[in-house]
Symmetry: D2
Subunit: 144 residues, 4 copies
């Protein structure tokens, strides 16, 4: 939940709740993408400094997902409180690629790359990512 130094990932924490876990004892996988969205909302609220609901409701800017690529390396279990490290792996004119890594006790459990477009929610057309937002994502850019 801390705002990182430049070129450090943003860090937040997720809690695996009772209702997230399936009969096999591990997190039902679609729930993991919900965690990714929770972490994405935290990036906006805490790091960018823009509550995601203001972004959607007042600025009418949205970031729909266009591509996802995820490795599930180790299961998440009920009671786990994974640390999520979020960095930016791509910053295009109107797209943002965020890299989410979930760790439980230093074990990398989930490694997700999510590419979102930046759109105007009224026209549903792609627009350029506003420069003040772009600057905050540059701060969590991964080394080339």
């Amino acid at each position: 939940m801390s705002t990182p130094k430049k070129n450090q990932p943003f860090v937040t924490q997720i809690q695996v709740r009772f209702g997230d876990v399936d009969p096999a004892g591990i997190v039902y996988f679609p729930k993991i993408y919900d965690y990714v969205h929770q972490a994405f909302e935290e990036v906006w609220d805490v790091h960018v400094g823009k509550r995601y609901y203001h972004l959607i409701g007042e600025e009418r800017i949205g970031f729909p997902l266009v591509h996802s690529e995820v490795d599930f390396k180790s299961p998440l279990r009920f009671g786990d409180r994974p640390i999520v490290k979020i960095s930016c792996f791509r910053l295009g004119r109107s797209s943002i690629g965020l890299h989410y890594r979930f760790f439980v006790a230093d074990v990398l459990c989930v490694d997700a790359r999510m590419t979102t477009a930046c759109i105007d929610l009224d026209s549903m057309k792609s627009i350029e990512t506003p420069p003040d937002f772009r600057a905050r994502f540059e701060e969590i850019m991964e080394d080339a």
Copy 2:
């Protein structure tokens, strides 16, 4: 999925999916209210003959829940395909009370009474239930 005769309940079926079940092996209870909403959407689509998404999106009429009272009598488990019988226990000027009973092999598992208001989604004010909808709910009215 059949349209009932007058004074017979409307009947539909739910499937308990893998992601609905918790580590204790039974349906995570908030999911049961989601089943109730699924059954409610079926009442509209099949019995009333109005797709719920047309109701919301085009007629701009909504039925928010105002009161719920639910008995959980027997657990639902992964793989169950409960039959849901839906009847009307109250039909007010601008409110509808629906009674949902979930059966697995003739065992009553869930007994739910949900009272919804009828509102105009633009003004968010209570309105009279339109007479053509009201007539369909009268058909599934419980005996007094």
Copy 3:
């Protein structure tokens, strides 16, 4: 998130996330029961001092819902961070009745009474609520 004084409710906070809100702009009602479960897990973790996942996984004690009664008084919206006050309205030999009140800026939005049984998860039989847990619920007992 504070442990209350005797006869004060336990207080926690919920955040209404993007994925919780429906096309009508308010929280999809089954999600509210999920919030109730989240608050219930917080009562265990923070007030009772027993992580809910230890309770389930190690002590093999569960608290399945047997009855719920909920009034939806005012809608919850995207971005709301309701305060939830939880008190005990009934403490039977093997059942606990908890009262959850959701407030947004002092407006009571949801008023829920949930009665759970105490069961042995291996035998799935009702058991007496262990006295150390019972003592913690007495601390948040409502006045008669």
Copy 4:
């Protein structure tokens, strides 16, 4: 819901429900992965001829996701009833790669490739996919 001829994809249908749609009017993306799991359960029940809950509960075989790659090409909306075509793009010794394509009125909306491992749920170790299951997945194999 039909069992396909050899080298034809398996076809099923999903319904976008009220609770799946977000305030921007489109399906909340994590819900799409839940649809993928629903379609996966249908492949088992209808095409393979093994109810997924028997597989998990009785045979103690699971298919956890190890890798996903998804393109979101066009949004899914409330009321859509996408057709999902499922074919097999990879059939390893102990892994299965399934390709899910969601169409609304011939428009490809979601294109997902999900690779699952085959594991023994008791030991949580990778095992060879049983030959009778393997044979059914060969029937929906994509052309090389």
